[in-house]
Assembly symmetry: C2
Homo-oligomer: 325 residues x 2
DNA sequence: TTGAAAGCGCTACCAT
DNA sequence: ATGGTAGCGCTTTCAA
């Protein structure tokens, strides 16, 4: 491994000058800077991360704790964080909390041991990570008191409901998969807020058994709002299988804009979280905290957007199903 | 930050003894070990990663270069690598090659600068990563000469073809999305090897336009083999939309066992890569290389398995479509 | 069994 | 403008 000392000896100057020339901090003559940088280039010099970290007390690495990167929502987020971190000169060390609080605690401990400068946590069940050694930032729901930034799930739900209301729908089925998830609760809540008084609706938490969509449709339901594209996919395909055309007979709305949303036919209308912005604020917060800036960004909420594709359409003017009671 | 020196002063012993007691390497009395560890516990001591790295020349961190974690194949792999790495005491630093060779080169350089001990690369277009500073391992296709381990895409393709042949199908449509991808080429090749002489088949690379499945079915096609679950999803939903029941009229086979495979109805029959085993071998190789073990694992190939779900079934005994010419 | 001391590569202070 | 040097926290001889 080639180091500053070798460059210094090579050029007959001191390591201090080499360091100064390379980092551009000290006052060194242009000539020496050119000399040193070109020699460093020649020798293929890379500064030692360990040496620098030991001296400065900073590793330039951020930890990212996620529940389960296998779940399709997280990769987009991870990518956003990685990209933002790189812009600020940070690397990303990943850790898996395995969707449990113990896993989360363990992951955080490991990251600290590895010397990260800060930690981003995606707590799934509103657990407050207990970190004192390094600054941390969390992306949670708006209703979570100790978050750094939150996606506006409620507003996302509102967006979904509004869009279908605008298309003329008045009888809704709201589909979630986990009644305990704060995220899903917020999304459903947003939908309900908008629907209340304006339309009929029924909330259904899917576990094993999926509701009989034909039956629901006969009962008047023309629109399904879901808390996830995975559920929407299920709904669309269940519907089409039983002869209910989507969106002609029934409209289906997804959530999260997963890759599958454009792979399925009909393509899924869905609510899009701004993961890039979320990641940006998370990293910006940590960056400020690590630099010990006097004022830190305050908790904020990032709105979602909607994208209307093929799975939603205007309510049929005449009832698609003549047997409706 | 609390360090060994403080513990040493605290206990009136030397830092060397503290280090020895903590790492268990040197010969220290049981009493002292107990004393030191308990005191360390009390003070909440964590060894400094930087200090240790500087001294030992090892960071305990592995870099992982992936083309695009947003593509649904990669998260499962990343999780496997993370899990395996943790078992060997390594952390995982992620880097995004953005599916380009320049991106890959840049990512590798960055990882090296951050002091990783080794690098795992998923080269997408059969590029040979140029790394000399640290050991690296690649997961590529079997036909790639410089790989450490490969998933047996060809055998996966064979598996798919065999399964549908066994179900009585004799007229196939093979669907890929990228004729330039070595992975997809190998998969299709495997299918063709099995089908040749045993059945009729047509290969179709989907770009924008999707083949007319009703037409194909009328031409006799009863089974579709794809190179990805995303394509299979597309095929299933296109088919069902145009009144072709799956699997009654047409069977569809996916690849990769993505999360969506069980969210769609019918659930997708698919080929499952053993990402855990792939990850295990990759990490094991690097671990050995980093420890400078005399003999390193030689390149090896990991077979895939098949899971039959709802999207495939026996060929219809009578033609589903009476208008077949 | 324990301790003193060197040194990993870097930066920053202070002197020249 | 440049150089000498201390020291970040740890491990590892070597000596006691």
């Amino acid at each position: 491994m080639i180091n500053q000392k070798q460059i210094a000896n090579d050029l007959g100057i001191s390591v201090a000058t080499v360091s100064n020339a390379l980092t551009g901090k000290g006052r060194v003559s242009e000539d020496v800077i050119r000399l040193v940088t070109s020699r460093a280039e020649e020798l293929g010099y890379f500064p030692s991360a360990a040496g620098r970290a030991l001296k400065t007390g900073r590793s330039g690495i951020l930890g990212l704790v996620m529940p389960d990167i296998t779940k399709p929502v997280f990769p987009k987020f991870a990518e956003g964080v990685e990209a933002e971190a790189e812009k600020c000169g940070f690397g990303i060390l990943i850790a898996n909390s395995r969707s449990t609080e113990e896993g989360q605690t363990k992951a955080i401990k490991q990251l600290i041991q590895r010397g990260v400068d800060g930690i981003i946590v995606l707590p799934q069940r509103r657990t407050a990570p207990n970190i004192n050694r390094v600054p941390y930032a969390t992306a949670s729901t708006a209703s979570d008191p100790n978050n750094t930034v939150a996606a506006n799930h409620t507003q996302g739900g509102q967006l979904a409901a509004h869009a279908l209301l605008d298309l003329g729908h008045r009888n809704f089925l709201l589909l979630g998969s986990d009644a305990l998830s704060p995220v899903q609760k917020d999304r459903i809540e947003g939908m309900i807020e908008v629907l209340n008084g304006a339309a009929q609706y029924e909330v259904c938490w899917v576990s094993e058994s999926f509701p009989d969509l034909v039956q629901k449709n006969q009962d008047g339901v023309t629109a399904i709002l879901t808390t996830s594209d995975l559920l929407a996919l299920r709904a669309v395909t269940e519907a089409e299988r039983s002869g209910l055309k989507c969106p002609e007979a029934i409209s289906v709305m997804g959530f999260d804009d997963l890759p599958l949303a454009t792979a399925v036919r009909p393509t899924l209308s869905t609510i899009v979280p701004d993961t890039t912005e979320l990641a940006r604020r998370l990293v910006a917060y940590l960056d400020a905290a690590i630099r010990q800036e006097p004022t830190l960004p305050t908790p904020s909420i990032v709105d979602m957007t909607i994208v209307l594709r093929e799975s939603t359409g205007p309510v049929a003017t005449q009832f698609p199903n003549p047997t409706r009671r």
